[in-house]
Symmetry: C2
Subunit: 904 residues, 2 copies
Amino acid sequence: MAKARKFVYSFSAGKAEGRASMRELLGGKGAGLHEMTRIGVPVPPGFTITTEVCTHYYKRRRQYPKGLERDVMKALSRVEKIIGRRFGDPLNPLLVSVRSGARESMPGMMDTVLNLGLNDRTVQGLAAQMQNPRAAYDCYRRFVQMYGDVVLGLKPREKEERDPFEVILERKKKARRARFDTELGADDLKELVAEFKAEIKAKLGKEFPEEPEEQLWGAIGAVFGSWNNDRAIAYRQLYHIPHNWGTAVNVQTMVFGNMGERCATGVAFTRNPGNGEKRFYGEFLVNAQGEDVVAGVRTPRPIAELKEIMPGSYRKLEQTCGILEKHYKEMQDTEFTIENDRLWLLQTRAGKRTGFAAVRIAVDMVEERIISKEQALLRIEPDQLNQLLRPIFDQADKDRAAKEGRILARGLPAGPGAAAGRIVFHAEDAEAWKKRGERVILCRVETSPDDIRGMDAAQGILTARGGMTSHAALVARQMGKICVAGCEAVNIDYAGRKMHIDGSVLKEGDWLSVDGTTGEVIKGELKTLPSEVLQVLIGRTLEPQTSRVYRQFSRLMKWADRVRKIGIRTNTDQPDQARVAMAFGAEGIGLCRTEHMFFEGKRIDAVREMILAEDEAGRRRALKKLLPMQKEDFKGILEIMGSLPVTIRTLDPPLHEFLPKTEAEIVELARIMSIPIETLKNKVDVLHEFNPMLGHRGCRLAISYPEITEMQAQAIFEAACELRLEGKNPFPEVMIPLVSSRQELHAQREIVERAARDAMKRYGVRVRYLIGTMIELPRACLVADEIAQEAEFFSFGTNDLTQTCLGLSRDDAGKFLPSYVLHGILPEDPFVSIDRDGVGALMRLGVQKGRKVRRDLEIGICGEHGGDPKSVAFCHEIGLDYVSCSAYRVPIAKLAAAQAALRS
Amino acid sequence: MAKARKFVYSFSAGKAEGRASMRELLGGKGAGLHEMTRIGVPVPPGFTITTEVCTHYYKRRRQYPKGLERDVMKALSRVEKIIGRRFGDPLNPLLVSVRSGARESMPGMMDTVLNLGLNDRTVQGLAAQMQNPRAAYDCYRRFVQMYGDVVLGLKPREKEERDPFEVILERKKKARRARFDTELGADDLKELVAEFKAEIKAKLGKEFPEEPEEQLWGAIGAVFGSWNNDRAIAYRQLYHIPHNWGTAVNVQTMVFGNMGERCATGVAFTRNPGNGEKRFYGEFLVNAQGEDVVAGVRTPRPIAELKEIMPGSYRKLEQTCGILEKHYKEMQDTEFTIENDRLWLLQTRAGKRTGFAAVRIAVDMVEERIISKEQALLRIEPDQLNQLLRPIFDQADKDRAAKEGRILARGLPAGPGAAAGRIVFHAEDAEAWKKRGERVILCRVETSPDDIRGMDAAQGILTARGGMTSHAALVARQMGKICVAGCEAVNIDYAGRKMHIDGSVLKEGDWLSVDGTTGEVIKGELKTLPSEVLQVLIGRTLEPQTSRVYRQFSRLMKWADRVRKIGIRTNTDQPDQARVAMAFGAEGIGLCRTEHMFFEGKRIDAVREMILAEDEAGRRRALKKLLPMQKEDFKGILEIMGSLPVTIRTLDPPLHEFLPKTEAEIVELARIMSIPIETLKNKVDVLHEFNPMLGHRGCRLAISYPEITEMQAQAIFEAACELRLEGKNPFPEVMIPLVSSRQELHAQREIVERAARDAMKRYGVRVRYLIGTMIELPRACLVADEIAQEAEFFSFGTNDLTQTCLGLSRDDAGKFLPSYVLHGILPEDPFVSIDRDGVGALMRLGVQKGRKVRRDLEIGICGEHGGDPKSVAFCHEIGLDYVSCSAYRVPIAKLAAAQAALRS
């Protein structure tokens, strides 16, 4: 048999059997209680039943391990001795709270029972102890209600039904003409207790347990049981918390914040969790128990007011919290109760904070010499930096909208930030309205490459369909656009130029606000505030020295740059985005798509002329028109990036993406191009593909029509040569997409090399350049050794590699992928974070095979994953040279890269 | 410097420097000439310039290696000595032929020059030698014409232009009122020579070279040069012959079949290459040179007639060929010339033969104790067995059609065999017409699963779009249906119930014949003959003892069964196909799709009801209707297969495949189902996918709707239990498709196991069964070790694995894949033969990882590749337990498996 384990850990009066490092065994709350006790913080004595008991409980069909009962009773009598009260003693009863406490905080998901140990006899002892019968009966009423709900299970049976206890309470308050619970007297509360018990009897057919020991075991069982309630399971799935961790149970002497005006209860933060300011922060209620602060029945008061009411307790609290922050070297979030001017701490933990607060606290703590720069870098979730870069809604304005019921729906937070504008439904309208000075929100069922300019013109984008990696979301992130995607409540009627959202009808021109950080869609115009960091870096409308946010942000970035081992590039084909990325310190462009350029202005006409050409000569004529435009594009972007590498991908999407889809558009285009409608329709038909993702695209197009690569390479090298003549030092890296064999790359390489030689000869200059390939197909990874013979660099296209490795269409997976992640079939959305076991295994293989053949092979990643912190860590791990991400994720990638370096 | 190599190998009068095994160095023709000389067969003396010279020639910018000239002249003078004539001697000139000869025969692709060494002086010596001035001038005329074309390059400049030499020749024949060349006299021929030379001078501006040595080097250069002419390159690409092999050049004393009536030239086979009969076979022309036999100007005579005309030479020829067959232990295809009653052999090689002949010759040779059974198995291309199983057109009937211009077009030979029937354009029509006793050819732009029953009802299928692995081709092969796919000349007008093919208009009801072996589409009704093997095995209309073809086929199969190491199963869900496969000796079903069953009869209504159901309860109601039908299906197929394993795959295709697509069909279905048209349209819209191949299908559907798997598993196990009660011993293997993670399989496994337990409990019997998965995604291969923990078997779905590994849609790749294969970017169509470097590497990984976890893991393949000989060899190599293929490919797979075992 297994060696006898210790199931129960006691803490009391400066002595504790546990400590902070025993979080796995005692849970977060338990470890905190033990540690606080250990360092002399006033904590009501009690004990913790370990998470191992929970694990045992579930493994053995809800049986407790042998000896648990004895250990709990021993621990309880130790508490009785210290407190000098006895559990169940009618004269001097000990009351306890029974609370859950998992390794990771799961706020509100599991159960708690307070005031346990009360019955019709002990309540009188409590009244005597308290010298306050009303307070005693208030505790009793709360206990019966909580126990009846949590342990006995008297809950509303239907969604619409009201809580049966609340119904009785309301009735009583009405009868007594009381607005608040506090206005009910001891007798009222006593009656309520009797009525609650009667209701339990009536509804459940069982008596309320009067025996405190029975109550205790009931509560312990309920807390363990709540580990597997639906809410808790769903929460763990959402936050990737393993189901086998289990919760601990904390049994602790009750202290009372509800014994009168010298009592209070509240929460306190050592710093402001909203903005990070180093100022004691929190809120409290006088004469209340903890649950009242959360429930929102009464509005809590700011902690500063406590100073005036109970200056002694306030001083003690502030001091204690200071001790805790210094001890943990981290901003603390505490729960406290003041019982007749005596302060008790009931919980301490690292406080959750906004991105703003995270940066400020980390940098401040370095300056205060509490933590090192490395620790500071590890303290911030990289994604939180987003908040420092996005415009935000004025919170007061938003609260008002919520109150007025104007928050209509919630979609996916696809492009963080806040935007307000007038509704338009078509990309062209977005452009036209913008021209006349309107701010617009572009609302579409979904977006396509055709909509790019309209998306660019819009303040924000709202789509009814598509996931976090849909076209809209992808482009939005790349553009740094605010976007709410896949908001299924939205029902667009293009013809009627209106949409329905959950009963509301919104017409073209109506004001709408979208919050891409939360996914909320709000009727009307909310006020937005721009990000300070951007005002300094990009807008130059704010001086660095006047923005603390900027100063702290840039210090953090400097620390990250010093630590990280992996380079950061950006994905962009727009000069203004390239400038943003440069401002953020990007070290090159990792993916410059050339097809977006094809949609600008008159270019699409030439592109279409090329597609519709009947032979190579016709295609060449059309390509000749595109050449000078592409050359100017490349010149622009190469110039901005100075001598940094610019990875330019040759044409990738299937040709049908450039042709119109609807009947009307086809008719119009046929007219413009002076060709028969049937001819055009036929071409559209011929180009139609069943699975365009796996179709005639990437280098396959260029193998069929080498003249396209020829033109693009010519444009790149003429641009580079002209810059060279101007004394610049451009560094293009030409990247061939969708390569699956050495032969493909070889054929394309020859074309590009010829173009480079020709241009350099004509201009009489030399230009640095590399030729390489996207690695975005499983086969490319499997034959990477062969491909590396033709490639000077690899860039993992993890979007497509994920699609092919998992056989999962990004555009279609929205229907089932969320439930896959929810049910743990996949640990995470593989389009958000690299699937290490599948896609990651292919990447490792690709790196290993590629470097075997070419030791100095430059390897990066240009998929969307390049901006995902976990994926950045993986890229660091497998030894990539750089990650490339959208401009606005460069800071995030930098921080993630620094963290990866620190952790490895 | 490299060691001096031998560039020239001589052969003459029983002595040869080369031999049969030196094929790589001397080419096929050269090796044959040397070997024949060596064993005493009369071969005109000569020498071979090696393939290495050719390789050198191309590596060094068309320079010959040092010393070649000297070696050639030495070899030439050795010939002069033996023959007793001198090259360029005006009195007694030696004439030579200069011929190409690559390692693999490339018939007609490269150049040849005959009668070389003639000029205005030597022709007179030749006339004296021959004692026949006309014959001498005939040679001269031929030489100038051939040399002018091949070496000097006087060819028609445009496609439409006629050969300039032929124009002059025709003019001369007209002037002399001659029908055949043979009617022209010596003087006429002399004039022609002069006119040819003048034409060369006029068109090319150069003199015809009179100097024999100059002629010789010109011809050698031309032969080497012809290795890289467009035709030869295209041919090598088509037949996967490496471009760096090079050709040899054979220079050989001319012998003359055109010196008069005691002269002849022809080809002879040791056995009949058409049917394999052991009878001397061939054809010849009297007073002719070899080119005349091929050119088809005069019709050659059957070899038997030679016996009457030149009995001595005939005897000698038959005897010589007998010696060659015995020597090579293989049917020989020879070229011979008789010069004044003296026989000369000019070539010998293994003869090409039909499938029928291949089987007969191999089996006969075993009986004749010429070769072993193992050698016999290796002699037959597995694919050739196809010919023994398919109905064929009556050849005379087809020749007539060709003459009448009724062969309208050629598509892809997607389903071998011959079919004739009346044209219909809709699957329903095919069914209806069949019911009234008509034979029909179903003509579609492309086919879909909806068309299955119509395809089954048709004699043959013709599609305008789609490749060798399109839906039509796939189903056709599985059904053993005759099919011509992707015939782009076909232009269907569904509304007008007619189609245009290359100018002809064919209406519904017109007769059409399609040859799925050649891809030909023929107007009218051709007569078909059924395959004897099938008449014996399936039709039971022929007794085994009366069919030699059947007897030899079945002997071969027995030998194959004894040798092969890998099992053979079949892919089918139809009882009649299962019976065919059983007749062919299949050892189980490797893939029984369950969705085809969904289309039969009224089932589709229940399927659609399930799809359109709004909740689980609704789906369950519809599934309940399907249950008894699926159960009957499974019972049928399990019963036929006895105790052999039947791998049943749960539902795989995306649900939208079961819904109508066109407006009209939607309206009709909405009426049938009594639901609003908009609701149905909406559902169709919601289910639409951008990349259905990568969408909501396979086990993803079953994860979303577990009740589908529940119903299918229930049907399987109730069927099995009922058979068990009848004393049978069914063996279902339940296969979950599109698995990419252990968790998916785990979830599905639980459902299947529960259904199995429930059924067995209810029926009170035990049933053998396995639960396993398709391995058809790269990720599944990468995490095969994890998946194997839940799987008792793996079955590689190489169709989808190829699509995902290469990022290549089978349905869309037709646009570029052929050119990929043609240009050597991919060695072969990866949908036909497993891509070893990519897909194969994943398979190896999957096998290795799977067996690491579960040593007795059963592993097979059920993709289309299971019937491809090269892929079968690969499966043998990586240690699979079985391959599974369509019923009609079972014999092919067996032979391929035997060959793989013999070769390893």
